[in-house]
């Protein structure tokens, strides 16, 4: 009976219910899509780095694998020391730069020979290896997204680069240019952001890493074999802060929307509250009506949010085909819990007010 009344009340004010449901939906989708986007990018990056086929990655102190912005790059001459370590077969220096022309892309400046020695070489869909100058290799996804073919021109860092090859995706970046070109463009002659190291046998990786740690004590030395499984938002402190602020934003939206919606509802239903009290309804009974009503709003909003999340994912990936949005059931559940929690918190105050309303004030003005 009480359920019937609550549902009827929600349908009674269709517009407000719709707006509240949508707002909660946006709240849920915000969390799910933002987290899906960032973890998707994270996993993507990790998968691509893993796909290079190197065993170890060496970076300057306190650098992150994902952000190419950083890099006070190392001298490329470090390679000579690396090569002397027993068990090292090949070393490939890479200079990283981010290109912001139409999305955020990481560009690898590579030496074609050493990169081939470490990775086993690109699989070419068309075209040829990099030589030098303003040449660029693009991976097949990027080529498809930008409709690029060999011979086309691509603007990077304010320069025209000629596409000389389209390669199979999964080798670290989607864009590769000669390392020397990138060094000259950014005044980083003889510098590298990181080294990929290939061991003679994979089993020697721990030994080589031990040697590296002794030689470069403060450097970031990561094995690449388990990179993917190690990739959690907590491996990137900025990302966790970002997630937390998204969640905080979502909580505030959900809280305020339900607070406002329920507050106006209790005002409108002053007389009804008075009647229920005259019928002998306890404070808890009155409060429960409004809390259940809010919970229903939230539940509908959560369903809408799941739909919106997939919709947003569809739209985003159709506009940016290289983007990966990971919608996980864990985060769907978390977002749902956040929405419900924020909603009930928002409903608590109006429900409390309603439960305490003086029945004769509510009934007096006949």
């Amino acid at each position: 009976m009480i359920a019937q009344m609550i549902v009827r009340n929600l349908f009674h004010r269709k517009l407000r219910t719709l707006i509240s449901v949508l707002a909660v939906g946006v709240e849920v989708a915000l969390v799910v899509v933002m987290v899906g986007l960032t973890t998707g990018m994270l996993q993507e990056t990790a998968k691509r780095i893993e796909g290079i086929g190197a065993d170890i990655m060496l970076q300057p102190p306190s650098s992150s694998i994902f952000l190419a912005f950083s890099s006070a790059p190392m001298s490329i001459r470090i390679r000579d020391r690396l090569k002397t370590i027993e068990g090292v077969r090949a070393v490939a220096p890479v200079l990283l730069q981010s290109s912001t022309s139409g999305g955020l892309d990481v560009v690898y400046g590579i030496e074609p020979e050493s990169f081939r020695a470490v990775s086993g070489g690109f699989v070419f869909h068309e075209g040829r290896e990099l030589r030098e100058g303003y040449e660029v290799l693009v991976d097949d996804w990027y080529a498809a997204a930008r409709r690029l073919r060999v011979g086309d021109t691509l603007q990077l860092f304010g320069h025209d680069f000629k596409v000389v090859g389209v390669v199979e995706h999964g080798k670290g970046a989607r864009l590769f240019v000669p390392i020397r070109t990138l060094q000259q463009l950014f005044g980083a002659v003889d510098k590298a952001s990181l080294f990929f190291i290939k061991c003679v046998r994979a089993g020697q990786t721990p030994h080589v890493m031990g040697e590296l740690r002794a030689l470069f004590p403060r450097y970031e030395i990561r094995p690449l074999k388990d990179l993917l499984s190690m990739m959690t938002p907590s491996s990137l402190p900025g990302l966790e802060a970002f997630h937390r602020s998204m969640i905080a934003l979502a909580v505030v939206i959900g809280f305020l929307v339900i607070l406002l919606s329920m507050y106006t509802t209790t005002l409108e239903r002053t007389r009804e509250i008075g009647v229920l009290k005259a019928l002998g309804a306890s404070k808890a009974y009155i409060a429960r009506i409004f809390l259940v009503e809010s919970a229903l709003l939230c539940a509908a909003g959560i369903l809408a949010g799941v739909g919106l999340s997939y919709l947003a994912k569809g739209v985003l990936t159709s506009i940016f085909p290289t983007l990966s949005v990971q919608i996980t059931s864990v985060w769907l559940l978390r977002a749902a819990a956040i929405a419900l929690g924020a909603g009930l918190a928002g409903a608590a105050y109006p429900a409390w007010l309603a439960s305490r309303r003086d029945p004769i004030q509510a009934l007096a003005y006949e």
């Binding site: 009344m5 002998g280 009934l363």
Partner: protein, 227 residues
């Protein structure tokens, strides 16, 4: 016989920011089981206030209210709520039905609040006596004023309250519907022994009661039991 309702020197003073209004100024009043009492008096003399205090919707400032032997003034808010739930039924001038529920829903929610579950026998007896059997699936907006008040009446007595309190129940009704509702109050009183306290301005309405008391300026000015 013990009175079902007894007030002793009952005062109610409304205090708003500056003004104090003494709505009840020492009401002494008794109602015995099975009585149908009409309370008459000029506007503002405190009739509604008396009903709210008796029904435990608000606390008296001074004095005692005994409902079925329980002193309301000594009870906590929660205890008064419980007493009201089990022993009191209210009917108002404005019918005060819940607009989103059907007639059946309005009656059933009273049973739900009461907590004893749905009693189909009682439900059938009451709705038949009040002539509502055909109108149960309708929302208040689809019912006439008289029908709405009959639904409100059914809602107020569905849980067999010791005391039915009606505040000008015919104040918003035309003569014909007033007569129907008053007739039903009398029928509830005679056939089911329902004790009723009814406020009214209308002497014709008061004539349905077994006893009439008059109020003026917050006190009862007569009210010697008729028998």
């Amino acid at each position: 016989m013990e009175p079902i309702l007894k007030t002793e020197n009952l005062w109610k003073i409304y205090r708003s920011s500056q003004v104090e209004v003494s709505a009840l100024q020492g009401v002494n009043f008794e109602v015995y089981p099975g009585e149908f009492v009409a309370v008459m008096g000029p506007s503002g003399c405190g009739k509604s206030t008396l009903l709210y205090v008796i029904g435990g919707l608000t606390q008296p400032t001074r004095g005692r209210v005994l409902v079925d032997g329980n002193d309301l003034a000594a009870l906590s808010d929660a205890e008064r709520t419980r007493l009201r739930r089990h022993k009191i039924g209210f009917v108002f001038q404005r019918f005060n039905l819940l607009p989103t529920l059907t007639a059946r829903g309005n009656i059933a929610i009273a049973q739900h609040i009461h907590g004893n579950g749905f009693d189909p026998h009682r439900f059938a007896v009451i709705t038949r006596m009040l002539g509502l059997t055909e109108r149960l699936q309708h929302r208040p907006a689809e019912l006439s004023g008289g029908e709405q008040q009959r639904v409100a009446l059914a809602r107020a007595v569905i849980h067999e309250p010791k005391l039915l309190l009606a505040d000008e129940p015919t104040g918003n009704l035309d003569t014909r519907n007033s007569e129907i509702v008053l007739g039903m109050l009398r029928q509830l009183n005679r056939e089911l022994g329902q004790t009723i306290v009814m406020i009214t301005h209308n002497p014709e309405a008061a004539a349905y009661a077994s006893r009439v008391v008059h109020m003026r300026d917050g006190v009862i000015v007569d009210g010697i039991p008729a028998d």
